[in-house]
């Protein structure tokens, strides 16, 4: 950069310093201004607070029944699986799956009859219909994804299995989600 000093040295001048310092301060100021406008889009405090864990009583859920409930505004399926459904889920060759995951990794130990998964298709978020599709798990009415009785993706465009939300058994017949 041209220098106005008589010394004509290659050293940066005060003007160079002011130019860079002003630019840097401007960039930081711009980022600090933009950030609140981005951040306000995120889930707000009330929405996050409403995400407290929910308790769910399993006792009324009959064998073969699928119950829907909400946690953090997201739909969750609780499925009381029949012996045949458990058997089908366990005997599936895991290596043949798109998103390989053993049935045992998707239920709590000793609680094979209880499957708890998010109820929105991992493709584009529709609610799959229970007991439908070639694997009698779920089938999505929107774009045709088929899930098995472990909630794993078997056919169609969904990329991954129905995720298992964080939950724990608080007693033999009750769970706490979250």
């Amino acid at each position: 950069m041209a220098t106005t000093h008589a010394s004509a040295s290659a050293e940066p001048t005060r003007r160079d310093f002011l130019f860079l310092a002003t630019g840097a301060a401007g960039a930081v100021g711009l980022a600090a201004t933009i950030w609140p406008f981005i951040s306000q889009m995120a889930p707000d405090a009330a929405t996050i607070a409403a995400g407290a864990p929910v308790d769910f009583d399993l006792a009324p859920v009959a064998e073969g029944q699928i119950v829907k409930l909400f946690w953090r505004g997201k739909l969750i399926f609780v499925r009381h699986r029949t012996a045949a459904e458990i058997k089908a889920a366990q005997e599936t060759d895991v290596t043949s799956l798109r998103d390989p995951e053993a049935d045992s990794a998707r239920v709590k130990p000793g609680k094979d009859q209880w499957l708890v998964v998010y109820g929105n298709c991992t493709h584009l978020g529709c609610v799959p219909l229970g007991n439908e599709g070639a694997f009698h798990g779920w089938q999505c009415p929107c774009h045709g994804s088929v899930f098995d009785t472990s909630g794993r993706i078997r056919q169609g465009p969904a990329p991954i299995n129905l995720p298992v939300p964080p939950y724990a058994f608080t007693s033999d017949k009750a769970i706490r989600i979250g």
Binding site: I38, M41, A42, P43, D44, T47, G51, K68, F70, R72, G73, K74, L75, G119, N120, H123, L124, G125, C126, V127, L129, C140, P141, C142, H143, G144, G156, P157, A158, P159
Partner: protein, 425 residues
């Protein structure tokens, strides 16, 4: 917009004002004396129709917003109150809802007109790209407007479309939760969509100004695709094209209000009269008809990320059309082989729309894939290669020649001029 104005105000007040803000001169040079090619056919009236539809949508929309409540618990009811309690609320809402469909009908005719007559070619590339931007803004506006009644189709349409962004590797889930303002489509989502639905039409209006500005630099393309050269090739905008545009608009409005008054729900879905329920997806969920071809492309591809990319790509590819088409000849009228591929493309787009309304299984998926391949092949293979291999017909020497029948394929102008004034007694 078309160089120096020849406008001279008649009154002293007019002169005083014009010397301070020369807006009347701008209007005069842009919409009164502006020289248009004399051979413009009715496909060129859709620009004016679109301008009218934008104003119509803004006017009805602003009034509807005075009666609408953007809250997840109240939105559905407020729309029913508009339909039942507000004076003429039913009419305003049906005009607005059907107006969106009419807007898209007009814009599709407008786009296909541009594709057939090569209106995207130099020197109109920027004009064309501004048009693609308007089309994208229109799609965003229409999508968010459809969410506002908070019916089942609103809710699940919003869920499916926002989930498209979850296909982005790594940050997809975070982006989607930022779009929602929650962990699912919910009240914050409705609020921000209402805000943006109100904003975007004014952004469209801004880009429309640029679109018209860019149009008035070279002037309109025309059916012969050759540039205007002499005064014989042109006619002033007023009265020749104001009258033509007004007549076309009147015909278009008859169709529009016929829909709004007689079959107001024909283009909608009955499911949207059921209030949004996050626990149940309607058995047969489809977007509004104007999104169906793109929806079919999304569903044709069995991979989530690739499907989303193909869908956005099907619109984004229109940006580079001016550089994909290698033909020196602008108008499809003089390109016999192009015509075949063009009409196949148009039919293909309609079939894609029909496939988008069908369930995603069996034959429909296979057909969607074939149509998707042709959709992209038209842009990526046909347009570049045709320009190299096709022998176009000989072009007329001028626009006037094409109209007066000397060479080219234009029909004589006399047929219009000789029409009898009235057959009524």
């Amino acid at each position: 917009m078309s160089g120096h104005s020849t406008y001279v105000p008649k009154s002293a007040v007019g002169k005083w004002f014009e010397s301070r803000l020369p807006i009347m001169g701008l209007i005069h040079s842009s919409f009164v004396v502006f020289p248009n090619p004399r051979n413009l056919n009715y496909f060129w009236t859709f620009g004016g129709i679109l301008a009218f539809m934008l104003v119509s949508q803004i006017v009805t929309g602003v009034v509807l917003a005075m009666h609408y409540t953007a809250h997840a618990d109240m939105a559905f009811n407020s729309v029913e109150l508009i339909m039942r309690d507000v004076n003429y609320g039913w009419m305003l809402r049906y005009l607005h809802a059907n107006g969106a469909s009419m807007f898209f009908i007009a814009v599709y005719v407008h786009i296909f007109r541009g594709l057939y007559y090569g209106s995207y070619k130099a020197p109109r590339e920027v004009l064309w790209i501004l048009g693609v931007i308007i089309f994208l803004l229109m799609m965003a506006t229409a999508f968010m407007g459809y969410v506002l009644p908070w019916g089942q189709m609103s809710f699940w349409g919003a869920t499916v479309i926002t989930n498209l962004f979850s296909a982005i590797p790594g940050v997809g889930e975070v982006i989607v939760s930022y779009l929602w303002g929650g962990y699912s489509v919910s009240n914050p989502t409705l609020n921000r969509f209402f805000s943006l639905h109100y904003l975007l039409p004014f952004m469209i209006a801004g880009v429309v100004v640029l679109h018209i500005w860019a149009l008035h630099v070279p002037g309109s393309n025309n059916p012969s695709g050759i540039e205007k050269k002499t005064d014989k090739d042109v006619l002033p905008f007023h009265p020749y094209f104001t009258v033509k545009d007004a007549f076309a608009l009147s015909c278009f409005l008859m169709v529009y209000v016929w829909f709004a008054f007689y079959i107001p729900n024909f283009l909608g879905h009955a499911d949207n009269y059921i209030e949004a329920n996050p626990a149940v997806t309607p058995a047969h969920i489809v977007p509004e008809w104007y999104f169906l071809p793109f929806y079919a492309i999304l569903r044709a591809i069995p991979d989530k990320l690739l499907g989303v990319l193909a869908m956005f790509g099907s619109i984004a590819i229109m940006v580079v059309v001016p550089w994909l088409d290698t033909s020196k000849v602008r108008s499809g009228n003089y390109r016999p082989v192009f015509q075949v591929f063009f009409w196949l493309f148009a039919i293909n787009a309609v079939i894609l729309g029909w496939l988008g309304s069908k369930p995603p299984e069996g034959m429909y998926v296979i057909a969607s894939r074939i149509c998707t391949v042709y959709y992209f092949a038209y842009y990526i293979l046909v347009l570049p290669l045709l320009g190299l291999f096709e022998t176009p017909k000989s072009l007329p020497a001028s626009i006037a020649d094409s109209v007066l029948g000397k060479g080219g394929s234009g029909s004589a102008m006399a047929s219009g001029a000789a029409a009898s004034p009235s057959t009524k007694g």
